[in-house]
Symmetry: C2
Subunit: 383 residues, 2 copies
Amino acid sequence: MSKVYVNGAYSTKFGELWERDLRSLAVEAAVEAVKDSGLTMKDIDSIVVGNMLASRFAGQDHVGALIASELGISVPASHSEAACASGGTAFRQGWMEILSGQAENVLVVGVEKMNDIGTDEVTTGLSGASDEEWEASVGVTFPSLYAMIAREHMRKYKTTSKDLSLIALKNHMHGSMNPKAQFPKEITLDMAQSAIMVADPLNLMDCSPITDGASAIVLSNKKKKKSIEVLSVAQAQDTLALHDREDITTIGSTVKAANKAFEMAKVQREEIGLIELHDCFTIAELVALEDLGFAKKGEGVKLVRNGDTYYDAKLPVNTSGGLKACGHPVGATGIKQIVEVYDQMNERVGARQVKDLKYALTHNVGGSGATAVVSIFKNLNNA
Amino acid sequence: MSKVYVNGAYSTKFGELWERDLRSLAVEAAVEAVKDSGLTMKDIDSIVVGNMLASRFAGQDHVGALIASELGISVPASHSEAACASGGTAFRQGWMEILSGQAENVLVVGVEKMNDIGTDEVTTGLSGASDEEWEASVGVTFPSLYAMIAREHMRKYKTTSKDLSLIALKNHMHGSMNPKAQFPKEITLDMAQSAIMVADPLNLMDCSPITDGASAIVLSNKKKKKSIEVLSVAQAQDTLALHDREDITTIGSTVKAANKAFEMAKVQREEIGLIELHDCFTIAELVALEDLGFAKKGEGVKLVRNGDTYYDAKLPVNTSGGLKACGHPVGATGIKQIVEVYDQMNERVGARQVKDLKYALTHNVGGSGATAVVSIFKNLNNA
């Protein structure tokens, strides 16, 4: 089996980008990632685009063809959609294009444009990630789904609202060092605890913001100077509807994908020096730390309370600022996580630099966990 | 490189299925295709779903997760979208899952539910396959895009409206022998020529009908009794907007994908005994015959006028009835074409059986040709 490397990476600014459209964001990310890889657009054999909602928000389907057309190339261009895991599934397809021998250099682009339409419409659009007939159609929204998960986690494991606020605090502290972040500023515990309620017990500071942005990476079968190696990519599913699960404090797809990713990579959890995980809500970061196997179920709060997940502590989590502070353009998020890993391993992130980074893990989730993609990367300079 | 086989195939009835929803159609096709392959759902390592418009028409994104959840399995489930080529790109991903060593048995499902909403909304939804900012937003619809192609083809090559009607006649004659077809009945030349105009020169009988339906196939790396072999799958792109092309009587993605598919398969055009091609409009069948290399540009009409493309003639085209008579549930179409090839090669299609079939080709198009997927299959009994 041939090896797969990330050889270039780039993210646009995330935020309310009123003067930009979907295609200009995707093109900026694509062109800059290809430039970063040292290749030219002619070297690209295949394109995979991760995007969830251009169909509903912009009336534009066929976004793989759109991006290829804008870039002026005619290589196979695909569109992968798995709600907020669209970046992750696009990455997995790009990885398989190389493993299957169908491509040597693959451009993977994640993009979403979410600020151009009304808040109600965005909420309705995002609810398409849930089970429409059993959840969305009766009024369930994503804050309410994750609020149910939080309530049950609090009941079973004595997790508190303050624990969740500590996660927001940490991610905003990280985000304050990331100029690409939507909200590059710190918050205080008082601000986090007194924010307006969205879906009890989740308040505004427990929720990641939707936004505009694009991220792109170049995957290759050839090692170059800045290469990092993709050791594993594992995807798994859980039930689409939350009510079909035995225990809603655990996300089965994350557990299964993580176990498979570690097995494939032949790496131990203790070796991971950076995690970029899917904190669409603060509770999601806590649940993910446990489901990924970095804490026993119910004990993830210890890492949070100890401050272990800060960029300069023993298990850095979401140094980009996470979905919470960096922002969550849903199709881009899974690729942005890989951009952060690449930039960290190439020691070009400035103040938030993680020291002596050998292995990193990314974790991208669709909906309330029906899809999870977990990947492990190796720093070829340090590992 | 490991070989890839189609080991099971099934299509639901295509038509106005008022009492069925998206998930029940997908599940019927999936369950029956797996049964046909001799496997059980537990043997499936991966699922890829082709679908274009569930997001807009049913408020349901994340359809890969939906179908896996409905089938009760947690293997990687992806959603591939490329407008009307969504089935084709899903098939290509499934093929790469096997080639990359990530799966031994892949279930590929194409599904679309289009009759539940208003005609205007369907037309608007389908226009998402074009360039929204440059085409759809100014009122361009798909009949009008293909009407422009037809007008120019008529101007350059003296193609007539009657030539187009002959294509509809042939596809309806084939469809009359396919009980799964939406319109399993013959039409007369007079009916075809006197149908109401949709977008001059294309009348109602030049347009394929949108519809409800699902098709599924099982891909495997192991040869079984009913196996047919996938010799090649090739995808290419053309510009998204029609006005960016030098010559609108040719679709560059089809030309490029066909050349690559023949090269990869090491098969000559003369060896092809069945073509299932993308006749979203009658003119599209004519243009495709030329772009696929079965006639020189402008000379495809000879095949049509000679009756060479009937199921019992020298180059059978669209024995399923094509999109015209079998119906066009857009995400399912690319898979339905492969179901037809599989059923033909296993000699289980009844009256429309092609004799001594050795090699077959499928051709699935997205939009006005921004995406094309061309695949070649081998009959392991006859070839």
